[in-house]
Symmetry: C2
Subunit: 105 residues, 2 copies
């Protein structure tokens, strides 16, 4: 569980990561926590929202496509991506999107 | 809970709706189910993913900004939006984003 991200005025970018987990933890929980912390330390990071209830949806927000690429190539993150593929996710989808407008209360 | 949406090749649009509920159901559950069904009948609808665990994240996918505008102005949906403001959500954020790229397994 997380809060609603406090993002700046658009435009900015969203990475929408939707996934289904395999059975069992297998080190997932600790790595997921670590990735949230590490993402928050990256240049261009704006916020993250993450919920799981059967499927998981994690949306992270970034200043630019360059910031997203930089985070994708982070060495520790690359290892997490490899284990995600091999071990933790039975299926997933990553969508890179440019946020053009937002509103709320 | 829902499945991972089977969206076509980008570009397409995402509406990322993040929210916190007020206490109690107050008619929310029935309306939420109805809105998912009604959204799926709209022109340009591509899919929806929805999860709640404290915060709720619902991402709906659309062919175009015009399809999103059309759905936002749907009369039954307008009434749901009004009740959402008044009754069901203590806070929410809607982000309109253009999906430029996706990948997955």
């Amino acid at each position: 569980m997380s809060d609603i991200a406090k993002t700046p005025e658009p435009p900015y970018y969203a990475v929408i990561f939707t996934n289904l987990r395999t059975d069992g933890d297998n080190g997932y929980g600790a790595m997921a926590d670590r990735m949230v912390q590490l993402a928050a330390e990256q240049p261009g990071f704006l916020g993250i929202e993450s919920v799981r209830e059967g499927i998981g949806i994690t949306v992270s927000y970034w200043e630019s496509l360059e910031a997203i690429k930089h985070w994708k190539r982070n060495a520790v993150h690359l290892e997490a991506q490899r284990l995600g593929h091999e071990r933790w996710y039975s299926t997933f989808k990553v969508r890179i999107a440019k946020v053009e407008r937002d509103y709320g209360i």
